[in-house]
């Protein structure tokens, strides 16, 4: 799905794990496509959602808030939220905002999948 300067794709990595790849920007304007992507990524068998930030260009404070909202939805389903592909700059922003307390940050897709138990 494409919205403005953001493209979001969903991939099934295993029966229990899906990836949401975000290319472009994450701002509060990304809410509808991101939540739609989560709806497609999640089903009864899904235990982990992996966010792929390899194509992330820009995230502002509204985008951080959006990730908190996504985290709430994921946790409500008893799932885990993981991430990989963050640049050093955005890793620091996750650290600053303490999102990394709740979202497992990994260096690669393989590491995220290993953490997800795949």
């Amino acid at each position: 799905m494409t919205s403005g300067t953001t493209t979001i794709e969903v991939r099934r990595l295993s029966p229990s794990t899906s990836a949401i790849a975000i290319t472009g920007d994450i701002t509060s304007a990304t809410e509808a496509p991101l939540m739609d992507a989560y709806g497609r990524a999640s089903d009864d068998a899904t235990r982990s959602i992996v966010l792929d930030f390899s194509g992330l260009d820009y995230m502002n404070s509204g985008g951080i808030g959006l990730l908190v909202t996504l985290l709430v939805r994921v946790q409500r389903q008893g799932q885990r939220l993981l991430a990989f592909g963050l640049s050093e700059h955005y890793r620091q922003i996750f650290e600053l905002t303490r999102l990394d307390d709740a979202i497992g940050i990994h260096g690669s897709e393989a590491a995220a999948l290993a953490a997800a138990g795949v």
Partner: protein, 266 residues
């Protein structure tokens, strides 16, 4: 998810879009310098003589992930109809004079020039019952059309709060959007009784004062309150140990002279 929309003290109105659309041609392109660097614990620099440095230095930041109560997204918005001002000019003024637009009895001790990412500001907030809350915020993000704060442990709310302005049909719109949980069970208990209303009145008055600064008198402030998560995070109930309202009150009782000297100009 629960949604309430309306003007504080009035009947609900139709919800407006919650996001501030980007402005074409603006310099609103984030760089590393738009964000604060990570901080393990807050450090406070030079403090004005009237400010009380309490409940901030040494504290960690606490966002909605680390809070206790229900998660709320609260949006306050005012249109500067008739004002000949750009969103960037609104934000520039707001960053330079942030505390000047606050309701009487509340004090914001920020930098003398303009808010910048990484700066810590001390706050003295008037609570109901003549109580005072000494706490602070860190500026986590700032660009030409927005800036955002994050709160420290002990603050009433574990939150992110973003202040922004954007153009809509040729009119500058000013928006405050907070994503917050009450920090601990005591604060959560006060939410339906006083905290929600106090918070709403605070930002309503702030936006009306800001609008008046730009020549818009009696501006109507829209408010939208959405409960994003009704669950309470009991693993953070222990946050009450850091409760800044309790600690401020204890300080007031045990250090009356120091309190008097640092009571702001209230």
């Amino acid at each position: 998810m629960t949604t309430e929309t309306g003007q504080p003290g009035s009947n609900p109105t139709e919800a407006a879009p919650t996001e501030a659309p980007p402005t074409e041609g603006s310099s609103n392109i984030p760089t590393a310098s738009n964000w604060a660097a990570p901080v393990a614990h807050l450090e406070v620099g030079a403090v004005p003589t009237t400010a009380l440095n309490l409940n901030v230095a040494g504290r960690r930041l606490a966002g909605p992930v680390q809070g206790f109560g229900r998660l709320w997204q609260k949006t306050y918005r005012v249109r500067l109809t008739g004002a000949d001002v750009t969103p960037a000019a609104v934000i520039r003024t707001w960053k330079e004079r942030f505390g000047d637009f606050w309701p009487k009895g509340n004090h914001f001790y920020g930098p003398l020039t303009s808010l910048q990412p990484g700066e810590v500001a001390l706050l003295s907030l008037a609570l109901p019952g003549k109580m005072t809350l000494s706490t602070g915020v860190l500026v986590i993000f700032a660009d030409d059309e927005s800036f955002a704060f994050m709160t420290p442990e002990g603050h009433q709310f574990a939150s992110f709060i973003t202040f922004s302005s954007y153009a809509d049909d040729g009119v500058a719109v000013v928006q405050i959007q907070a994503l917050l949980r009450a920090s601990d069970p005591l604060y959560e208990l006060s939410m339906p009784i006083v905290a929600q209303r106090t918070e709403d009145r605070f930002w309503n008055d702030t936006l009306r004062t800001l609008a008046a600064h730009f020549g818009v008198s009696d501006a109507a402030v829209e408010m939208q309150r959405v409960c994003v998560d009704r669950r309470r995070q009991w693993r953070y109930a222990g946050n009450i140990r850091q409760n800044a309202a309790i600690r401020t009150t204890l300080y007031k009782l045990t250090h009356p002279r120091a309190w008097f000297a640092h009571r702001g100009d209230a």
